[in-house]
């Protein structure tokens, strides 16, 4: 502690005017970057809470103008949106549990097993990392399995990824094999060892992978678009896309013709649309402190492998 303090002091004395100017410029640059990172998000939030005339004049920037929360009332009364939120929550949470289970079942034998076929098993998993069959074969497979237009299609399709297995396996391996061996000596079977010994010791990696899966499901658009046909099954991102982007094209056209009455409706539409986007990000905001911590530790786990 003492030492670093001294060092900083030393540095401070040596800073010339050029260095000071650089520091100031860097400080300002980073402030500007933060503004850039935050602006689209704040703009979205502000539009959703602003008076429609201000929205129409493109007057709304960092903060709401003429506070008007009626768009949120409309959103919370909309059954489609609620239904899709429930669907997304179901997929994210159940998907996360199923995925953790299957990933652990794949990772444990790779970490502690010594069995015939281990190399083949490892290859079967890793091969899926290099070769992706593409969206059409996956679509056909899901149909073949009778999962088309079911939320389970999303859960099952994303249950196992080679990358997650590799990450979880290498974390499992930080448990000394001698502990596993002695548990086996004591007559514990491998399931017992996995669930009672290894998993409780691997909470950090399980948290990381869980968050990956939850965020992945919550934000996924491609797979719901591929697998779901029925409106009642739609996940939030599908509803968002419909509400926000399909209407967007017509708004562009409205502005070209400059039709005042329709653009009034369009402005209210804008508030609602941005409001839905804000609502869709609430779970991310709640999870953000954890997400940030565990995602970064995940990047580190990945870079160890690389």
């Amino acid at each position: 502690m003492q030492r670093t303090h001294k060092k900083q002091h030393h540095e401070f004395i040596r800073r010339g005017p050029g260095a000071k100017a650089f520091d100031a410029a860097n400080w300002l640059f980073m402030l500007l970057m933060c503004a850039i990172f935050l602006y689209p998000l704040l703009n979205m939030l502000s539009i959703s809470m602003s008076n429609q005339f201000a929205v129409l004049r493109a007057d709304v920037t960092f903060y709401p103008k003429g506070l008007d929360l009626s768009s949120y009332k409309l959103i919370f009364e909309n059954k489609d949106i609620w239904n899709s939120i429930m669907n997304s929550l179901f997929v994210a949470l159940v998907g996360c549990l199923c995925s953790l289970l299957l990933t652990s079942l794949a990772a444990y034998p790779l970490a502690f097993g010594d069995f015939y076929g281990k190399k083949l098993f490892n290859f079967l998993i890793l091969f899926t990392m290099w070769f992706n069959s593409g969206i059409i074969p996956i679509f056909l497979t899901i149909r073949q399995l009778g999962l088309h237009n079911s939320l389970w299609a999303l859960i099952i399709n994303a249950m196992l990824t080679a990358y997650n297995v590799v990450i979880v396996r290498s974390y499992f391996q930080s448990v000394p094999i001698s502990i596993v061996e002695s548990a086996r000596m004591d007559g514990a079977n491998d399931f017992l060892i996995l669930f009672r010994l290894i998993l409780p010791l691997s909470k950090p990696v399980l948290a990381t992978v869980s968050l990956w899966i939850i965020v992945g499901h919550w934000n996924d658009y491609l797979h719901p678009m591929l697998f779901l046909a029925n409106r009642s099954k739609y996940t939030l991102q599908l509803v968002l896309k419909e509400l926000v982007l399909n209407a967007e094209a017509s708004i562009h056209n409205i502005s070209v013709t400059g039709d005042a009455t329709t653009s009034g409706a369009a402005a209210l539409g804008q508030q609602v649309r941005n409001g839905v986007l804000v609502v869709s990000m609430i779970p991310m905001v709640i999870l953000y402190p954890f997400v940030q911590r565990f995602f970064i530790s995940g990047v580190m786990l990945g870079s160890v492998k690389g």
Binding site: N43, Q144, V256, M284
Partner: protein, 312 residues
């Protein structure tokens, strides 16, 4: 050689049997995983066969076998080169701008004197990474909308007429790259920030004593220390030259910017899921997958050769 002969002895067979028996729970454990892999990962590969059929959903592989005609049709498609060209254009621009950006960002972060300010900037810079593609594209369309967008307001205040960027093909790549910068620069700097933290501070100390200013330190200490990480990530990035963010390209696409925004994956989606030409779409997708695999393996080979680091 000797082992081979021993394996046939009854004693050895018993040992093998014992080993299998001892691992019965392990086999029970991998059983669901193997079933999963076969059904969800290897069955799609089996369905790649549909590239050789005039595949109909109801008939399955009873559909008409057409040999390579889906592939000849693909290679005779006059637009194929344009699709690949569009992908390369997008990825090259991304490589030029988005690859160095996180390195510079991480180095500048490292120069911030206040640790608390640095942490705050980092936290804010990661936020865009967690925004879904649908939300991202919605924000883009709002911001650059000629009627209510902030960019249009800015243009008007400067006395210019707002442009409808999304309907002009020439803006497709810039929109992609700028939004990609917004979404990825903070997040992708994580790995460089970690690499920077691993540099021995005494090197800087020594350089300072020798009179090196911060610019010289950055050039002669920081960059060389990051070199391995940079080269590895660069090679991997080149290996993914034909990959695109399907969701983003698809959602930003409209009939007016199609000249720049149509790429193989979006073509596959439209031909198959929307156009129901399953065989043709599978052939196009297979072509894309094969090129991607070749590029990744090539990149990995180069990386193993020159930096002794490889992904596999």
């Amino acid at each position: 050689m000797q082992k081979q002969t021993i394996l046939n002895s009854p004693l050895e067979r018993k040992r093998v049997g014992l080993r299998i028996w001892r691992n019965r729970y392990i086999y029970l454990m991998i059983l669901p995983v193997v079933i999963y892999l076969v059904l969800l990962k290897y069955m799609p590969m089996w369905f790649l066969r549909s590239a050789f059929y005039d595949y109909k959903l109801l008939q399955g592989f009873d559909s008409k076998f057409v040999g390579f005609s889906n592939f000849t049709r693909l290679f005779n498609n006059p637009n194929l080169l344009r699709y690949i060209g569009n992908t390369l254009k997008l990825n090259l621009s991304a490589l030029l701008i988005l690859f160095p950006a996180p390195i510079i960002f991480a180095m500048l972060l490292g120069q911030l004197r206040s640790a608390r300010y640095r942490k705050t900037v980092q936290t804010i810079s990661y936020l865009p990474h967690f925004v879904s593609t649908v939300v991202l594209v919605s924000m883009i369309t709002t911001l650059i909308s000629p009627s209510i967008g902030s960019l249009a307001a800015l243009a008007k205040s400067l006395g210019r007429t707002p442009v409808n960027y999304l309907s002009s093909p020439e803006y497709f790549v810039p929109i992609n790259v700028i939004s990609g910068f917004w979404q990825a620069v903070g997040w992708e700097s994580v790995i460089y920030v970690a690499a920077l933290a691993g540099i021995d501070p005494e090197m800087y100390e020594a350089a300072r004593i020798d009179g090196a200013n911060r610019w010289a330190q950055a050039i002669y200490i920081t960059l060389p220390s990051l070199a391995t990480t940079i080269i590895l990530l660069l090679i991997m990035r080149v290996g993914r030259m034909l990959d695109i963010n399907f969701e983003k390209v698809y959602l930003l696409q409209n009939n007016l910017n199609l000249a720049a925004s149509e790429m193989l994956p979006t073509f596959v989606y439209k031909t198959g899921i929307e156009g129901r030409k399953w065989g043709y779409a599978t052939a196009a997708g297979l072509f894309n997958s094969v090129i991607s695999v070749v590029l990744v393996i090539g990149a990995n080979y180069v990386s193993r050769r020159y930096s002794e680091t490889s992904l596999f």
